[in-house]
């Protein structure tokens, strides 16, 4: 399907994660195998079923919605600075963000039930999933199509896919895409713990997220934001920008299985990966690295492994795989964007960040793991996976930028 279609490049990246306030510091921490997971500091979690998470250090705000705007602002600043001035008229610039609704603080909610006090209109707007999109559009002066994708953990992966498709179709010349989430609050920690989704291995929080390890017992909630500037490659080159990487493929699918579980055969995941590879006009043997969804739950990691083997066939055991959620925790609606940026850096720098805490790989996760230490190796093409509650799957294929298609 690649024919004469427009090519899409990334010219700016920005992220704020539990590991760092920008892309370079996050990348450095990832290569060093550092964990951003600690005891929760924002509130007293000592009586909760889980008392650790991957918080963005120092993040504060009157409500979750405000914190999301703070995060997306920082990631956007960095991405725009890296991309340089965008010369496109507003109507040729679009925005798509992955985001969920912000949840009100439970104490505030309780007070409001008692006093019948209503939230301010600003707070109501900030709580909507679309608030980060509207905010970014206003900041960059976008007058083209804007939209918000809310597909749980796949949200910002889908936002990237949307951006790529809009540029390919010629609807816009550039897209600001990404995602944000803030989930470390008492209700979410308790709710996900009761679902049995969270790790309870709190003796050493930094070792709690251990994707693909035999001893994995759940994911660790995190928060953060990632923003990418996507441009039509020809126009980006014409304005003198340096493409960081190319986004060459996008695939998505539904599991049609269960709300909380992944199918054991990884069928939906395989379908999304295969669609991305096909969309790029490549074959599985061209892929050197997969930044896995790798949540550290028993079910996801084995299901994703089976999906990789199904999509990759004979080369399923060759392709290098790591899950950076071992260090960042699970950033939910933001994970697709943040992990796409990490994958872009892996492609650009020829270094794959590791899965830390992978001391005893589960035989059910029989992959070529980048275990515990970063691996230097040229990466021509890489996939980054995101799979969401409810069974939505997204896979973005990121390639080294070359003027001639390889």
């Amino acid at each position: 399907m690649s024919g004469e279609r427009r090519r899409v490049v990334v010219t700016g990246i920005g992220m704020i994660t539990p590991l760092g306030a920008d892309a370079p510091s996050t990348w450095e921490a990832l290569l060093a195998g550092k964990s951003g997971i600690q005891r929760i500091r924002r509130f007293d979690a000592s009586t909760l079923p889980v008392d650790f998470a991957a918080e963005v250090p120092g993040l504060t705000g009157p409500d979750q919605g405000a914190m999301k705007i703070t995060l997306i602002d920082r990631a956007l600043d960095e991405a725009l600075a890296g991309a340089g001035p965008l010369p496109y008229p507003g109507e040729r610039l679009g925005v798509c963000m992955g985001s969920e609704a912000a949840r009100p603080d439970l104490g505030v909610l309780a007070k409001r039930v008692k006093t019948r006090e209503m939230p301010s209109r600003d707070e109501m707007w900030r709580a909507t999933p679309r608030a980060p999109t509207d905010h970014v559009a206003e900041r960059v002066g976008a007058l083209g199509p804007t939209s918000t994708v809310s597909t749980a953990c796949t949200s910002s992966s889908q936002a990237i896919g949307e951006g790529v498709l809009r540029i390919r179709r010629g609807e816009v010349d550039a897209m600001i895409v990404g995602g944000v989430d803030v989930l470390v609050d008492p209700v979410m920690v308790t709710g996900f713990a009761l679902l049995g989704a969270l790790s309870t291995s709190g003796d050493d929080p930094s070792a709690a997220s251990r994707p693909f390890d035999r001893a994995r017992d759940g994911f660790v909630l995190g928060e953060g934001a990632g923003v990418l500037v996507l441009e039509d490659a020809e126009l980006a080159l014409r304005r003198g920008a340096t493409p960081l990487v190319e986004i060459r493929g996008w695939g998505c699918s539904c599991n049609a299985y269960r709300i909380t579980d992944s199918p054991p055969d990884g069928r939906g995941a395989a379908q999304a990966m295969a669609a991305a590879i096909d969309d790029a006009g490549l074959s599985p043997t061209d892929i050197d690295y997969i930044n896995a969804h790798g949540t550290s739950t028993m079910m996801n990691d084995s299901s994703e492994t089976r999906g990789i083997h199904t999509a990759f066939g004979d080369s399923g055991g060759r392709v290098s795989v790591s899950s950076t959620k071992s260090m960042t925790g699970h950033l939910v609606a933001a994970c697709g964007a943040v992990e796409a940026i990490i994958t872009a850096l892996a492609v650009r720098n020829g270094v794959m960040p590791p899965t830390i805490n992978l001391d005893n790989p589960d035989p059910a996760c029989d992959l070529n793991h980048v275990a515990n230490e970063a691996r230097e190796q040229p990466v021509r093409h890489a996939l980054t996976n995101a799979f969401g509650f409810g069974g939505s799957n997204g896979s973005v294929l990121i390639s080294r930028w070359q003027e001639e298609l390889g």
Binding site: D44, T47, L48, P87, Y88, G90, R92, G94, A101, L106, G107, A110, K114, M118, P119, M124, T128, P129, R130, D134, A137, L143, G144, P145, T146, S147, T148, V149, S150, T151, A152, Q158, G161, E162, L165, E171, P186, V187, T190, G191, F192, L194, L195, L235, R239, C252, S253, C254, N255, A256, Y257, R258, I259, G268, Q271, G388, F389, G390, G391, S392
Partner: protein
Amino acid sequence: MSTDRSSAAPLRAAVTAVGIVCALGEDLDEVRARIAAGESGVRALDIEGAPGATGAAVEGPNLRPWLTRRKDARLMARPSRLLLPAAARALGDWAGDREGLGLFFGVGREPADGGESNDALSAMTDGARLDMARLAGRGRDLYPPLLPLKSLPNMALAHVSIQLGIRGPGGTFTGGPEAGVQALRDGIAAVAEGRCPAALAGGTDAWVDAGALRDRARLGRSGPPGEAAVVLRLEPADAPGALFILERGRAGLDVPPDEPEHRAALGSCGAADGVLSLVIRQGDVIVGEAAGTCCEVRWIPC
């Protein structure tokens, strides 16, 4: 910078079936006839704490014919309950492979219904203060583990995928009245570009519970609230049996929206409004809110 790389041919898809669930019924021809006859689905709502409230609420809908397991209904918030029958009817007797069928939906407000959160809230708090010990104790027992998931916007799509066995590409857009039309535009593009052989696309939203009424009052929204789901089955533009053809039009923040006429009869149905307007009007629509993107879909008769 001058950008002279505007899109080539317009993207089009045929609509081969329509599923609708709204206050005036679950059959499009009947709903259109009732609106044309001046009927309205707006009536007094029986909602605790909202005396005198009116809105266009849907009776039911009956989910049993579409559920693979009856207990799954407990996991569905109101927009999911409205969407499933609409999607099932739009799917109808489609004979293609559901493995590749696309699902694109716009969802607005996704409340957790049944008062579950209120019970949990009272158990987790001491007066107006969050009591962490109660949250970890009684609150924990009362807090339905699936509540956070039930309230996620993409659960409406997830339930359709699970109950109808559909595995193709898809996505959930959130926002105002444009969200359903954004999903429809994505579905049209996915079919026209060959990313899926067919797709179900549309919108679902519910604004007739106590929380929604409070939110509308706070936002200064006028007119009656409503709830609805509308789903179109999209196939390639040359598919046999097309009811009408849809074409993606403009989208952007500088595109002026028009006013859906159905709101007097069906209330404001949030993310379903745009698609509802399209199938009732049977003409072009441009849908959106002042602060957000407005999307256009053009209606072409067969």
